[in-house]
Symmetry: C2
Subunit: 334 residues, 2 copies
Amino acid sequence: MTQKKSSTLAALGEFGLISRITARVTPHESVITGIGDDAAVTALTPGMRLLTSTDMLLEDVHFRRAWHDPFTLGRKSLAVSISDIAAMGGIPHWALLSLAIPPDLPLDFIDDLMRGFQEVATEYNVTLIGGDTCSSRNGLTISVTIMGEQYPDLIVRRSGAQPDDDIWVTGTLGDAAFALSQLENGTAVSESLLSRLLNPAPRVSVALAFAEAGLATAMIDVSDGIRADFGHIADMSGVGGTLRVDDLPLSGMFRSVTADLGAIPFEYALTGGEDYELCFTARNSNREKIVACAKKCGVAATRVGIVTSFSGVTVITRDGTPCTAPFNGFNHFT
Amino acid sequence: MTQKKSSTLAALGEFGLISRITARVTPHESVITGIGDDAAVTALTPGMRLLTSTDMLLEDVHFRRAWHDPFTLGRKSLAVSISDIAAMGGIPHWALLSLAIPPDLPLDFIDDLMRGFQEVATEYNVTLIGGDTCSSRNGLTISVTIMGEQYPDLIVRRSGAQPDDDIWVTGTLGDAAFALSQLENGTAVSESLLSRLLNPAPRVSVALAFAEAGLATAMIDVSDGIRADFGHIADMSGVGGTLRVDDLPLSGMFRSVTADLGAIPFEYALTGGEDYELCFTARNSNREKIVACAKKCGVAATRVGIVTSFSGVTVITRDGTPCTAPFNGFNHFT
């Protein structure tokens, strides 16, 4: 532990906080002017396109301070944004961070949040180039904008899926959603499942590898459950799909902690959300290449379904029987 | 008035709201993929640099629903962001909008907010390319990221002011701050002052004209009061400056409504904030060119001080006496 001063946010002030944050940023060479002017100035690689996405995280909606320690919250707030650039096959570069901070929030909390944010930034070669800070009357709000780039031919959209393509997913599904349900029930949660919820890892390298090899016809990151998120691919591609529930990849820990429930609770894997894995489609002639490409990146890739020419997403069991899940992914407002 | 359906946000849902917003967006040709994928894809003009800025507006911190009708709130939320691109001499292009929405907020409010946002987007040739929507437990939060571009040689930073440069400001100062003080006191407010507070106009065309003519050595938009904001230019340029309080440009309405106060309340113009005018510095050999350039754009430009080689910002009266203002611009947390 580094020695911490007992200074408060009020004593530090807005510009003190900005200086404190800026002092810890080491800009990437693409950053011409970073934090400190009216706008940041950055240079794109000639020929590449700009990729941009934004996410807002609200206290008691997206996170609870009782569950998320500030360091992993800082990590997650950037990681989930980077996941959106990964889902396009893009290279993440620059981030903007806005914080609305309750005046009674300890300065240590912000320091730890920024340490986590910066750690993920360093891991993925992302530079914080700007943002906004203000006082909040109602809980902490974190708004992150992420920017990246990619050559136009390598960008993978949601709209490229074709009938008879395989539907794939990286890693395992349902871990984060099951951990959340255990937190909500006050049950003890296994460390590895909790880590999937609190500290997700965006799949940047494998997504880039798929993009550069031209293997993925469509791609999305799984944040609202694979059923809903594959549904977005289907809608944007003008196709449908069949997901084989028994093929959904489950972690050993997920299987272990749910073993005494009688049946496997596939709903967490299907509709749980916050997996931050990649769901993608690919020609069925590329199966071996995909497995090899994923393996090289240290990530599993599992075939979980088939794209259909008719619309609608059907979930089937091993014997081909359609099964109905209790809900269709997370949806704000409803 | 267009006929409005009595549908609610809960009935519409998150994706319904996004579709409703997207339907009203006409993308600029630089937008390759707009709303609806994991990230937006846009193309920069070859040779130009990317300019990026972000602002967060919180209910009861930055705005009150009692004072800001949703239409002008939508206008202002984009206008203040565009002002940051203007302050760099940049061309605004693309915006991301995140909304955290209280579940009881009428859908009409969001519709009107988006109409205002879109109106300013159209006025300044900006395309909404993405964002995030979620449910808020505590008031409306609006987070806007704005992106623009400019050739590297034309970008105007805060850091280019030189000793003996003139300090200039566009338009008039203090109108918005005086209107805010009247709202806070429950006094009747003149329409023209209120409009400066609720519906500010970013100075894009005159800023671009200054940048393209190479006239401004440093520039900033005045959001925290000219004393504080020129202070940022001074700090970043390693210089200081003298501001002549009697030369600060005041609107006729400001002079009229403050006429019975005995002395002119210069503190609104000096430290009030939310003017969204441009403060810039320029060689004293360019005075005539600046006045002509501003006139061509339909904006006044007024010389209000001189850059000094020694640090610190001094405010002087007509006879050269230093005067002390009651505070030093708006600062969150303190």
